[in-house]
Amino acid sequence: MLLEIVRDPIDLRAIERAVLAPGCGGIVSFCGSVRERADDGRAVEGLRYEAHEAMARASFREIADEVLATMPEVRLAIVHRIGALNVGEIAVVVAAAAPHRAEAFSAARFAIDALKERSPIWKQERYSDGERLWVENRCSGERQ
């Protein structure tokens, strides 16, 4: 399991190599990059992510444990970058390797959904008009 918060650019292929095992025929990866347009259509110049790093890593571990509890053959990576990112750069990678593709899809989907909901990470979008906005995930914060 590769579960990390990083500050340097993410090497997607290295992560996929880290989860690939000879017994795993399929890897599903989700790779989230900085989009050039916000949901409201405004041009995005860049992003800043910050995290409670210890809690975020603990949440990745919890997510991985939940995946393994139901799919023990899955090998999972969750890597999120923090700091300043430019348009097009990779912010997050979730990769799941499994002997069969159904588990790999299921694990990757669960992990990215869970990360968005429960990992203490925050995103500030910077627009071309100079404004900055902290953008919340849709489901976050509605649990308590």
Binding site: H52, A54, A91, V92, I112, S119, P120, W122, N137, G141
Partner: protein
């Protein structure tokens, strides 16, 4: 008078700073810390929606008692991924 370390994120970090120490009356709870901060910055109340607290890296409720040296985190709604 327990002294706790406050760690704030996102908009709350912009208001309260990233890390600071804060002294509270004996028997104070996490919710009392938030009320103390609101007296300092009343318009922070707009940020109460979806706010969660953590004590020493674990989510906790407003009724959690504060101990000397605790790290109390203010966690606005998440935006990772």
């Amino acid at each position: 008078m327990p002294v706790v370390r406050l760690v704030a994120f996102a908009r709350l970090r912009e208001l309260f700073g990233e890390r600071r120490e804060i002294a509270l009356p004996e028997g104070a709870k996490v919710g009392d810390l938030w009320d103390t901060l609101l007296r300092e910055e009343p318009h922070a109340s707009a940020l109460a929606r979806g706010l969660r607290f953590a004590r020493n890296g674990a989510l906790c409720g407003a009724e959690t008692a504060l101990c000397e040296g605790d790290e109390i985190s203010l966690l606005p709604p998440f935006g990772g991924g």
